[in-house]
Symmetry: C2
Subunit: 213 residues, 2 copies
Amino acid sequence: MARAASTKGNTRIQRQKTKQILDAALEVFSTYGFRGSTIDQIAAQAGLSKPNILYYFDGKEAIHGVLLDRLLHTWLEPLEHLGESDNPVDEICAYVTRKLEMSRDYPRESRLFANEILQGAPNILADLQGPLKSLTDEKCRLIQSWIDEGKIAPLDPHHLIFSIWSTTQHYADFDVQVQAVLGESGADRFATAQTHLDRLFRSMLTPRADHDI
Amino acid sequence: MARAASTKGNTRIQRQKTKQILDAALEVFSTYGFRGSTIDQIAAQAGLSKPNILYYFDGKEAIHGVLLDRLLHTWLEPLEHLGESDNPVDEICAYVTRKLEMSRDYPRESRLFANEILQGAPNILADLQGPLKSLTDEKCRLIQSWIDEGKIAPLDPHHLIFSIWSTTQHYADFDVQVQAVLGESGADRFATAQTHLDRLFRSMLTPRADHDI
DNA sequence: CATAGTCTTGACCATATGGTCAGAAAAAGA
DNA sequence: TCTTTTTCTGACCATATGGTCAAGACTATG
């Protein structure tokens, strides 16, 4: 009867099929973007018929919407865990590591997000200006306090976060380019990236004698 | 009569209209991606009729192809200028600055490129594996020589380049997010980013005493 | 100004795509 | 088993979109 507009989850079959569809949709949307994807593609990927897809979801946009909702949650989580610490440099580097691991383990989510932002974030602009901005501002105040205490080198917290996001997500969003440029030696790209990024941010964050800068 | 398959350029009108169309197409493609864009959109943006667009180009894909060709040239140029220098740190930082300026001045080109890579680079994969890889490898050897001479700190040249690309292009590709997070204070985002990135890469590149690492 | 060549467009076509629907098939209850 | 509910599908519809074409409008030039 009356049920959630876009997410069924009562029956066993409903749970299984919705999951199946969302996984297929993530695969397709993250590869071709929203407008570049078709319900038929999603159906084929999920091994279901098109009308069957539309039996579980109210339309192409509804599927996309559910994916974006879940994505935002997943995406914000690591930053939420950036907390108080005796050693802020390690704390931030741990965040970098975590973000890189997400690029390695959830590249589809990263590309879905990138696609959405690239096209002007038509569906998640409010979330960016609301929850994301709030959380980011909060963490920037924390970082600023570390700077004031002299625990990390002085820098612009917001841009530090942008640098972390961009460098780590690059390995998911631009993986094709990364692999093309690295060629044969690209097999261990995430391991070498980990070493590189840790060194990059550690060297920037570690406070040093005044005369160095 | 016989003329270039996709680029007319003989008559004055031809030059003007092709330019007009390419500019409109860049606007549209960079915003909605290839499959998300329609010839009608491009026509509207260019102030021309759809058949008129198709009079100058052999189809949607041909327009996209021309844009990608030009893009690759424009995109590789800054890296080509990374050359010998007494002060490698300044040289690399100048490259960072140049890349950031390109994000500021040519955001559409950056997004067109990002869209193409995100979707698996179907049209430029060969260029990535060929010219781009060659150029990158060459510059990495140069960077490695600087490392060997002790002029810059030891690091992975390829990943250094990835970090430069990602951090600078982020300000074009993810501008919506950057502005959402920065809010009111985002007006001077490119200026503050410049300061931040210069500091970031300078601190990583500057060699220091062994005991520091 | 007449003519050849260039440019432009309204009308049209074929296909792709999002979405609907009536009814069949399968599960779940009784 | 019989009934009810849920799940599934072939056939279908309306629209959007890439692309064509014949004919008209314009431009340069002899």
